[in-house]
Structures are given as structure tokens and as C-alpha cells.
């Protein structure tokens, strides 16, 4: 397949960026999207040019590191798929593909397609945990949890923290990410003691980090590679309200 790529190039956070066009005459349909970038970078390096910087690590859709905005969609055209799991068989010979970094003021650009998502870490550090020191735990089966609740908590916990929800949201809101963690822990008996404090602290830091507000458009749910549901946002909103009343 012949593929034309228009890729965002930006030397660092301080300099302006622009699109560069590259043509790849011979792309195999079995390649992953990132392997196509490997091939392009190999070519650029051999010509002595600067290769395109992009984040990636596990290449099996679970680490959450890859983060390309492809033809106006986070992680590209397929639903439930990270960029590393997107294969070229889903494109056509002759296609032109536009590739950009995540764009959100809370995710500043580092270089080319790499952005800084450490704001997510700081939200978790504010309260995305259960306070239990090593060695304090009771026997695992002494806390029976209805299967349905455990399964729901798992669905929320499946979030990979990639930031597609923020990138795709017109307000660059992090509500889906934050609510997935709030919801996971709110659904479990172990999470109850800190339930109200947790949601308040996490929302506070989320706002400080410069993420936008949620207007319930649902774009985040559509683009989430792990299918995290909007229900979690509803649950978080309820918990947040209750936590304010409790105070």
C-alpha cells in the first residue's frame, strides 16, 4: 500500500510546530501503525534526519503509553483499540493520514507526538488509593464481594491512563479517567472508609491541573480504548455531591 503521512513536528515545548508530509510507497497491511512509523524513522535516520519522536512501550494495548491522534480521532478509526494495536489493513492504498499529538493544555507537548501526562499521576497521588500499609491486610476471603460489584469495579479498573478521553474531549476534561478510579474504589467495600475524602481530593487536583469541565457529550466513552463507561462519571458526580453534603 502507498500511504502519505502528514505528521506534526515540533522540536520542543518552546518552539512552534508544523505538519511535515512523508510518503511511504510500500506499507504492508500486516504492519501495526507504530511499525509503519518504525519504517519511516529508519528511513529518516539513514538520511541523517531527525526521526519522529512518539511514545510507545508494550505494543500490546495495555501500558497506555502510545498516544497518537489519527485523522482527528484519538488512537485512530477503530473503536476499543490503542494506536499500537491498530493495523494497516484498516487503511486503503493511497490514503493520506494526518497524525497529531494529544492536544490539551494539561498535557504540554514535549517533542513531536510526545506529551507530558504527569498530571494524571498527580490526580492519583491526591487520593486514588486505599490507605493500607503492607502487612495490614486481613485474609482475602474474609471480604466477600458480590461478583457483580467486583466485575463492575474491574471494568473501571481496566483504564490504562492513556489520556484519549482528554484528547478527544472538546473541553479537555479528565472526568472519565478520574471517575474510573473513584468508581472502582467506591464499588468495593475496602474503598468505603475514604470514599468521600477521596473524591473531593481527586477532583480538587484535577481542577488545579487545568483539565476542563464535563458537559456530558460522551466523546470520551466513544474513544476510550478500554470501553470505560460514562456511568462512572455519573457515579463520581453523585459521590462528589454527597461528599459536600456530608461536610
Amino acid at each position: 500500500m502507498k500511504i502519505t503521512l502528514k505528521v506534526w513536528r515540533q522540536q520542543n515545548g518552546k518552539t512552534p510546530g508544523n505538519f511535515n508530509t512523508y510518503t511511504l510507497p510500500d506499507v504492508s497491511e500486516d504492519m501495526s501503525f507504530l511499525e509503519m512509523f518504525d519504517v519511516l524513522n529508519d528511513e529518516l535516520i539513514r538520511k541523517g534526519e531527525d526521526p519522529i519522536a512518539f511514545d510507545h512501550d508494550c505494543r500490546e494495548g495495555i501500558c497506555g503509553m502510545c498516544s497518537m491522534y489519527i485523522n482527528g480521532r484519538a488512537h485512530g478509526p477503530l473503536t476499543g483499540t490503542t494506536t499500537c494495536q491498530l493495523h494497516m489493513r484498516h487503511f486503503n492504498d493511497g490514503d493520506t493520514i494526518v497524525v497529531e499529538p494529544w492536544r490539551a493544555s494539561a498535557f504540554p507537548i514535549i517533542k513531536d507526538l510526545m506529551v507530558d501526562r504527569s498530571a494524571f499521576d498527580r490526580v492519583i497521588q491526591a487520593g486514588g488509593f486505599i490507605s493500607v500499609n503492607t502487612g495490614n491486610a486481613v485474609d482475602a476471603n474474609s471480604i466477600p464481594i458480590p461478583k457483580e460489584d467486583a466485575d463492575k469495579a474491574f471494568d473501571a479498573a481496566a483504564c490504562i491512563g492513556c489520556g484519549a478521553c482528554v484528547a478527544t474531549c472538546k473541553n479537555a476534561s479528565a472526568m472519565l479517567f478520574v471517575s474510573a478510579k473513584v468508581s472502582q474504589l467506591a464499588l468495593l467495600p475496602q474503598g468505603q472508609p475514604e470514599r468521600h475524602l477521596r473524591v473531593k481530593k481527586m477532583v480538587e487536583v484535577m481542577d488545579e491541573e487545568g483539565f476542563g469541565n464535563c458537559t456530558n457529550t460522551g466523546a470520551c466513552e466513544v474513544e476510550c480504548p478500554k470501553g470505560i463507561s460514562l456511568d462512572h462519571i455519573a457515579r463520581m458526580n453523585r459521590d462528589y455531591l454527597v461528599s459536600n453534603i456530608v461536610d
Binding site: D57, S118, F129
Partner: protein, 638 residues
Amino acid sequence: MILDAKIPEGPIAEKWTRYKATIPLVNPANKRNIEIIVVGTGLAGASAAATLGEMGYKVKAFCFQDSPRRAHSIAAQGGINAAKNYSNDGDSVHRLFYDTIKGGDYRSREANVHRLAEVSTAIIDQCVAQGVPFAREYGGLLDNRSFGGVQVSRTFYAKGQTGQQLLLGAYSALSRQIGRKQVQIFSRHEMLDVVIIDGKARGIIARDLITGKLERHFGHAVVLATGGYGNVFFLSTNAMGSNTTAIWKAHKKGAFFGNPCFTQIHPTCIPVSGDHQSKLTLMSESLRNDGRIWVPKKKDDSRKAVDIPEEERDYYLERRYPAFGNLVPRDIASRAAKERCDAGYGVGSSKMAVYLDFSDSIRRLGKDVIEARYGNLFEIYEKITGEDPYTTPMRIYPAVHYTMGGLWVDYNLMTTIPGLYATGECNFSDHGANRLGASALMQGLADGYFVLPITIGEFLSKDIRTKAIPTDHPEFEKAEKEAQERIARLMSIKGSKPVDHFHKELGKVMWEYCGMARNAEGLQKAKKMVQDIRTSFWKEVIIPGSADETNQELEKALRVADFLELGELMIDDAFDRNESCGGHFREEYQTEDGEALRDDNNYAYVSAWEYKGDNQAEVLHKEPLVFENVKLVQRSYK
């Protein structure tokens, strides 16, 4: 130097308890003044950093990823073992200990493995308390599944994403300590050297991967939790960034390297599809609970799988190993697949694959049950291959997955450099010559939550009067200068070939000659080939850009330069070990029916290699393995 494993006295089942009760402690007031560096934030690193922070130590944690949550433990699929005996099938600490020693083909240290089995149960408790959503039964209690090489169900799991859930648990504990300022996190940082002062590890040199700046960090002790070195093969199931640099640099500074040639080749991975391939994807071992492995009985059978009738299929694992069937350990399943493909019975366009077939289970249990158990794995498979495993059997082939070898450590998990510790996959300690499925997660968390935070007290208790050493100390300066010079040398080559070119060449040699099957002649040949690739790398590599900025090619070059040295040591080790055991299969040493033939009289030892300087042969030290609680027998799964 005489290797002292420092194994406590007493009967095996009491060693750890007694030792814990007598180990010197550091009181809380002194812990506040002690700094510890933890490199790597996977299961072993995140759990250690969190626990040490909870105990009151000042911790600095480092990872090369953009967040500690992305360490490659996240990709572990199947599960974590623990001797809970919730399944009431006769499991016990002793049985888990025995299975692990036997599974490792009698090349691991009894005392360490027994401790691992003992603390396994507390890991599950800890994770549940953190909110890890393990799979549950309708009664609300935890569910278990079976894994290879055992006859009990002791594996706890969270769909096919167990590693993710456990890592996020450890990450949340770590995040809590970062929030409390007990732990300082340095993400997008790569450790380039360890700093040794008066014979003790006292810090590291790290490169900020965004600015390119080299940094000096002091610690009273340094803990490496940097994972395995499977990427020496280029193609493996490891993440793209997984590397050997931290442990290799420690090795060159005096830490002995244990059993470098012990590599695990995982039997069920998605086969290679072309030259562009950048990594291999695992299909969890848990699939062998319900999937049956087969090849056609006829050579070069080009019919579609569904068109081959039942009587013309060879379920070769069930045929050769009736007692364990499809759930034989990984080394055995991998070799059996290779044997069939080499003999001409392979399937798919490359003929280097076998079928993993779920049609029986789908008929027996229904598609819904199979989907609930393995849905996400089936999805991954379909995304990569474009084929639907509900209707067509998966095509699978073995791939490099895990390295049992690593830095040699004593019972305290300390390397031969005082104050330098190695935990999780980067040490050699618990899995012998073959790791059992669902035991890597167990070991990572055992080391990080329950072992290292206690054993490190033995070293630190003597250090309570040591003040923080300023990083303008000459040893810090020297180490930084060395790292700087290495970078400058790489940047100055300005050759014509990208780093990946050399990495792929190295990988091909390692896979061909030091992979699933090895022999003396091939190993000798490979040694020379690796030396040649190394020479041309240092003459011909090209790295665009500069060292004072984000430069992913430079990051790769620094890692591959170390792989090119490690590869040769793996070959030396494989050449030295004139026996077959576990994942180390020397073709000269096999039984009549093609099983690994150990030589306990001459090779029941851990090989611990000492670095002697550039271009000098490493010196082999031997730690004899003494088995007092398990009888050494020919491993049989028949």
C-alpha cells in the same frame, strides 16, 4: 571471592520466621535519615518503594516510562500463584515450594523458593485490601484457575489482565507515598551507572530523558528492580523499552551475574508475520486450560484447520504427556512445538506455527463462558492477525518471554556489591532454569512487599551514622564523566546504520544459536558473530540529533550497546553448562525421547560470572546447590 548465600540455619519451614525475628532493625527516628534509591517501578520496584516509604525511609524511585504505572509488569496476563488452598485440592506452602523447585528443573535455591511460597498468601491479602478486583465466584469469594506444571488450582486472576491490576495496586500504594512526600518519583529517567564509594553502592547516575541532562543521586542503598533482558533477542514479548542497562552496569562495577543463559521461551505467542515486526505478543498460558494444541498428522498439510478431521489431528502434548496434557510447563511445551515444526508438521504460511484450538471447549461450555474467561485475549489475537479465534484455531509459536537469569543475590537479595540489591525479574533467584506460569508476579510482589523491606535492614542497621554523601564526591564525578564520555563517543560515530539494524542482527544470532536449542559448535560460532556485530556497531551506528535533548535513538543506542556485551556472556554461560535443564536445552544432552538430560553431579550449581574488564574473559564462580528437602529426579510430566 567465595560466594556466601547467607542462608539462615534451621529447618526449611522455619528459616524465614526465625531469621525475621533476629534480623537487626532500624528504629523509626533513624529511618527518617536514611535514603534509598529504587530503580524501576514494576511490581517489584513499586511495591518496594511504597513499602519502604510506609516504613519511614526516604525513597527516590526512577522509571524510564512517562509514568510509574506503565512498567512492563502491566502486560502480564494470566495470574498470580498463592498457596491459599481455597480450592481445597490439597495445596500447601510445601507443594508450591516443591512445584517451583521441580518446575525450575532443580536449579534454584531451596531456601529462597520456600520463602517465596510462604509469603505468597500474604500477597493476595494485600492486593485485595488495596482494591485489586480479582475474579470472584457468585458467592463473593475469590476464583482460581490452573496453570502449567502443577496439578492444583492456585492461580488468582483478573480476566487476562492480572498484571495490570496488580501493578495498578502497587502503583496506587506508591502514589500514596509520593503524595505523602515519602517517595520522590523521577519518571522519564534512565539509570546509566551505579556509584560505589568505599566498596558500597551509594548512588546512581541517571539521564533525564527529556533534557538529556545527567544527574547524580545519592542513596544509602540502591535497589534495582529493572526487569528482564529478553530484548537481547530483539523480538520478544517484552516492552520496547525493557533493557539490561541498569543490571549490566552494576555487573561491570562488581555485581556477579547469575545463570545468564537461562531464558524462558513461552510456548503460546502470535507468530512472526514479516520483517517489519517490532515485537511479539503473548497469548496467556491460561488459554491452555481450555485450548487444545495440535498439528496435522500429515506433513505439509495445507488444508484449513476446520477441514482437517479429528482423526487426522495430532494432539501431541496430550499424546506425549498424558498426566499433564496441554498444561505441561513452558519449556516442555515450547520444545515440543519446535520439534513438530522442525519435522515439517507446522501450519500457517510460514509453517512455523501450531494450532491452539478452542472448539471443544466452546462446544462443552458455550461461547459465553469462553468469552468471559478469555475475551480480551481473543480480541488481541483478532486485532493482530485479522482472524477470529472463536471459529478458527489460533496459530501460535514460542517466543522469548522471561529471563530466569539475572544478578546473583544472597538470601537478603543483596548482590555481591554491598548495599546494592536486585529484586524481581532482574535477579536470578527463584525460578531456576524454568519459571512456572503465574510465578513472576508472585516473585515480584514477594520481593517488594515482604522480603526486601525487611532484609535491607541487615545492611542499613550498620549505616545509621552515615550522613548523606554529597554528590560532588569524586566517585560521583567519575561515574558521571564515564557516562558522559560513552554518550559522546556514541554521538561522534556518525555512521550510516540505525541502532535497530544492529539490534536485529544481534537478535537473529541469539535466537538461532542461543535460543530454544543450543550446541557447543553453534555457540562458539555465535560468540564470534556477536563480537563482530559489536565492533561494527561502534564503527557504523548513526544517531541523529544531539545528546542535550529528547533523543530516542540515543536511548536505544545506550541500551543496545549493553545488550551487545550481555549477549556474549549468555553464550559463554550456555557453552559452559554441559547439560540440558529447563529452558537451557543443549542438543548434545538429551534423553532417548528428546527430554532435557541434567547432569546433577557436575552442574548442580548457580553460575555466577565476574566481570574482569573490557575484552577480558569473565571469571566463573559456582554456588553449589544443596537439596535437603527435595529429591533430585528426572523431571517427568508424563
